[in-house]
Amino acid sequence: MINTFPPGLIMFLGAFLIPFLPHLTRQIYMIFLVFLSALSLMNGFGTHLTINLLDYDFIIYHSDNLSFPFAIVFHIAAFITIIYGSHKIDWKENVAITSYAGAAIAALHAGDLFTLFVWWEATAFTSVFLILGGNNSRSFRAAFRYIVIQVGSGMLLLAGAIIFLYSNDHANFGKMSIDETSGLLIFLAFGIKAAFPFLNGWLQDTYPEASEVGTVALSSFTTKLAIYALARSFAGVDILIYIGALMTFFPIFFAVIENDLRRVLTYSLNNQLGFMVVAVGIGTELALNGAVAHAFAHIIYKGLLFMSMGAVLYRVGTCKASELGGLFNYMPITAVCSIIGAVSISAFPIFSGFVAKSLIMSSLGYEGLTFIYFMLLFASAGVLHHSGIKIPFFAFFAHNSGLKPKEAPINMIVAMIISSILCVAIGVFPSLFYQILPYDVSYQPYDFSHVLSQMQLLTFAAFAFICLWHFKIYPPELNSTVLNSDWFYRKMIPGVLENVIIGFKNLNSQFNIFFTKIFQNTQKFIDNLMYKNRVFDREAGFDTLIVVQVFGIVLLILIILQFSKF
């Protein structure tokens, strides 16, 4: 039985028992579900479960060298997130996290587009409860926007899948072309969840509105599922290189101005997705290894950074850089874990980001993509600026905010320490890490030249920040909202619609005035005709008026018809 049970499904179904369990049993039960689901990964590669329904074969459980590393890291992320959130007594987020992670893992093992669609939508409907977990009016509104966009992505996927099935007689989840309508629709569906430029607004808009635990879960699954889907279906599609390069480039500037540190991390998440999308676009074995390695390492270090900011939010009640500072003395373990996450994402040698990002940079070098290479190198300095320095510096150092919080709860610390150890372990033992990647490529990230170049790049970028701060050139963080592509559907479209409605209202009142005048004039005319000329011995009433007008119109139509015959 366990051999044919797809990973993730047990978590998804098992999540519905969570509300009936007491707090501690619930935590153990959720971890047990993750382990049970992970056991299915031992089944090896191949198609393990197909169900025929309505004359269509739903490939429920297919595993291969691409889904395997994603499945491993999704299980790790689920495990860490459950530990991180185990202080919460409320069961609703527990159900959401377990079912959301389960749906994402099951989606990795979908062998056809319709099965993928089911899980694609399941991730949307389960994760929206995490945003609602923010438990205020802002998060409620954000959740509404989130579900509309996520379901929209699912609808595009469904439309693409139907067209694909119609033209190919199968709907296997495999290689596709964007030159076909079906491929283009599916590409857009994946692009929304991968936060392509101008389709990214939902990410920065909604993730920071979730609770401290919810954001950690959200950062792990949806976007990386999209990267996996792109790698499976659109590897080697050139346009992805340029889309990815833009994704790495623009968010860094927005991250610099953003005040909410969790929102800074979502910009950073967008930027990191760009690296993966570029790698998928290159499509060589080395590059795809790079995309998978980066996704793997990224889930852990980004989760760690979100966890550290979540711990700050939990203890202090805010994540705004303008209101934080000097927390190192009160939350030293959280601060150290945050710094480990920061140096990992910045790709300092001996940390996970370095061994993952190097694969992508080298593959760009091998393909001779000079301009893109330097764009990504520039973006690497940007990552250091906003995630490597801004996050830990403004939260734990900078200036004394006067806040004196307690250290994070023990479960949060355990989760952060596990992630920190993984960040270092991946960086120190890259050859072990590379063994789980899809392709057998020999690559050595640690050579004198590579390490020196990276260290010079990062250390001098850090030194530039130090100079800007020390000489008081760096402006203070301000309470503000930074406009992003969500502005189009939060401000512009409602604004345009409002004007259109006002326009229609004005038009309507003009029509009313116009017809009232006609009505009054007709009434006067009939009054004159009938009353003043004593046709009838009384004034023309409303009913008379209508009858006369209808007759008038009928007469007019008859005259026109009569003339049109000639």
Partner: protein, 75 residues
């Protein structure tokens, strides 16, 4: 002079400065090659990192006036 520098510039900042100097010296210890020829210019990654960070900061500050709104802009 060193003590004066540490006093003025801060302990951690001085350590970063020292690491920067060491990294520049290491350039002469072994051959540093890159993915592209231009990267092999003397101190290229150091200059690239420093200038990139300044550009990001400058552009970021310039964008404040375009993209920054009040905190309750959407409320």
């Amino acid at each position: 002079m060193t003590i004066k520098l540490i006093k003025n510039f801060g302990k951690i900042n001085s350590i970063v400065l020292l690491i920067c100097i060491i990294l520049l010296i290491l350039e002469f210890v072994g051959h540093r090659h890159g993915e592209f020829k231009i990267e092999e210019f003397l101190f290229f990654p150091a200059l690239f990192g420093y200038i990139s960070c300044i550009i990001i900061f400058k552009v970021g500050v310039a964008l404040r006036s375009i993209f920054m709104r009040d905190e309750d802009y959407y409320d």
